[in-house]
């Protein structure tokens, strides 16, 4: 079996806490540190689109910056194609394209073309090769018409697309994206997602590491997702499997032939019932219930519903929305040890 193209092994990172002058004196000049990452490990296969998902401050950007060689980990290692990021820095940086979509990463008073010419030279491209590459990447991100406009005239979305174009210049094997569709309008966001999935991964076989806050984006694009909470990985799995790993509330749609106040009272008394909605439908009465993850709750519910001769004709577990799964995975109650 081919080894992972990107191997992240036991990454731990702490950052010094910036103190005001008086607290710093009180602390006798000692530096306090906060933990940003703790024992992060995962692997990304060649040609995979791998997502990092987590709330703000979970450590996604820190991981990306360590992989890009911009931050050094306290412990652990990152290997790209077998080469260690720390010891083989220039070689590794040739294989990694950081699609930094922060709009504060270009020269504002230069045109998009001049910016790309400069960054192209810094990744080792020049002459006709550089010009052709610039034309190709701006076509991919739909900026051909705006290439000679100054960067400070660009909209937020255009700046982000130019950041993607810059990351693609050298045609690297591993591409790193930090929230590539943030501040991009829905049409271009859909275009960028299609570009990541269909062009970069499916057609060109690139390996993509994507940090995102957008759940639907992660679910739609990623082959596997690492869910982060407070600097720890709480789950690594394909989106379809994350549902099974989550332990949060479960939704059911139960169809019964009739209902009355007594039935509803019995149902509301079920231990573990978190929500109940009643709707009339052609096939009977639909009970939309939300139960906690304890399997005994469903048994107790069915017992309560089916008493007094009420006929239960269907029980359908409802697919959970990504937001529900995500909220469960990053909740304090989730046991990372089960992953």
């Amino acid at each position: 079996m081919e080894p992972d193209f990107l191997e992240v092994i036991g990454l731990t990172k702490t950052f010094p806490v910036a103190l005001g002058f008086v607290p710093w004196l009180r602390n006798r000049g000692r530096v306090q540190r906060r933990t940003a990452l703790e024992g992060i490990s995962f692997g990304v296969r060649r040609g995979e689109l791998f997502g990092l998902l987590g709330p703000n401050g979970a450590g996604k950007s820190t991981i990306l910056r360590i992989v890009a060689g911009l931050v050094v980990a306290d412990r652990g290692s990152v290997r790209v194609g077998g080469a260690d990021v720390r010891s083989g820095a220039p070689d590794v940086r040739r294989r990694v394209g950081l699609c930094c979509t922060d709009d504060r990463s270009f020269y504002y008073r230069l045109s998009a073309r001049r910016n790309l010419e400069y960054f192209g030279a810094m990744v080792g491209l020049y002459g006709a090769n550089l010009r052709e590459r610039i034309d190709e990447v701006v076509r991919l991100v739909d900026l051909s018409e705006d290439l000679d406009r100054r960067f400070d005239e660009f909209s937020s979305g255009m700046k982000q697309r130019l950041g993607i174009a810059r990351g693609l210049l050298r045609d690297p094997e591993l591409l790193i994206f930090d929230e590539p569709t943030r501040a991009v309008d829905p049409a271009h966001a859909a275009g960028i997602r299609a570009f990541l999935r269909d062009e970069l991964v499916a057609r060109r076989g690139k390996t993509v590491l994507l940090a995102t806050n957008t759940l639907e984006e992660a679910w739609e694009l990623c082959g596997r997702i690492a869910v982060l909470r407070r600097g720890r990985v709480v789950a690594v799995a394909p989106p379809s499997e994350l549902d099974a790993r989550a332990i949060g509330p479960v939704r059911y749609e139960i169809t019964v032939d009739r209902t009355d106040d007594e039935l509803l009272a019995r149902t509301r008394a079920v231990t573990g019932l978190l929500g109940l909605e009643v709707r009339n439908a052609a096939e009977g009465v639909l009970l939309h219930v939300l139960l906690n993850a304890d399997p005994r709750a469903l048994t107790e519910l069915l017992r309560a519903v089916s008493a007094n001769g009420v006929c239960v004709s269907a029980i359908r577990p409802q697919e959970r929305r990504p937001a529900e799964i995500f909220a469960d995975l990053i909740s304090e109650g989730f046991d990372a040890g089960r992953v």
Partner: protein
Amino acid sequence: MLAEFEIGTRKVWATFLRDARLMMSYRVAFFLGWFAIVASVVGLWFVSKLVPESAVFGNGRMATYFNYAVVNVAFVTLQSTALLCFENSIRNEQVYGTFEAVLATPTSVSLVVLAASAWAFTFALIQVALYLSVAMLLGLDLHHVNLASLAIFLILSITATVPIGIIGAAVVVRFKQTAPTQSIFGRASTVLAGVLFPVSLLPFWLQGVSWMLPLTHALAGIRGAFDGLSLQALSSDAIWLSAATLVLLPCSLYAFRAAVVRAKADGTLGQY
């Protein structure tokens, strides 16, 4: 190896073009800078009229006040550039937010910092040329210049001062602020290195301080070159500047690299 050198040269050229374009994008400041040079030379010419012709400034043909001062003032531009261009460049990169983006490319830290000076020194040399051109119109005689000595002292005056500028850049990377040491050093050099008056007018103990400044030896060598002196005649200043370069340059590059490593460890590379 050759391919690496070629790529490195192209990176320096790309940085040169970037900086030239950025500077010229501020058109008003760009053109006012030229005007300031003309005004400065004309001002020195008027001041020189106040100095009696019997007053002697140094030796040979450079001994008139106007010749002495205008050559010094012109070449102080190179020192100011060497002191400030690196920290200004890094500071601008931090403020633009481009520093991380540049360091994420397969480019060595040393090349990033040294390339930042390519346009700055070219521009400084153009400024020096304008100083001297205007001064020639007002009577500066350049017929006796020893070009070999001048070229050597131009290079040495830059290489001996550049390390102090690189250390300033390291301070910017580490502390996110320009260090006051650069301007203090620059101003002290202007007073103590004999820019506007000969070092011999200083008290004896300050002459010792003056001897320790690169600018003193750079200007002495450049004035000597303008007076037609050979490199052999100026060897003591040349040796001083060469030794300073050999000692300080590796130390300054080490300091800059250490500052970047520390910033990477603290995660502050992109902060400003």
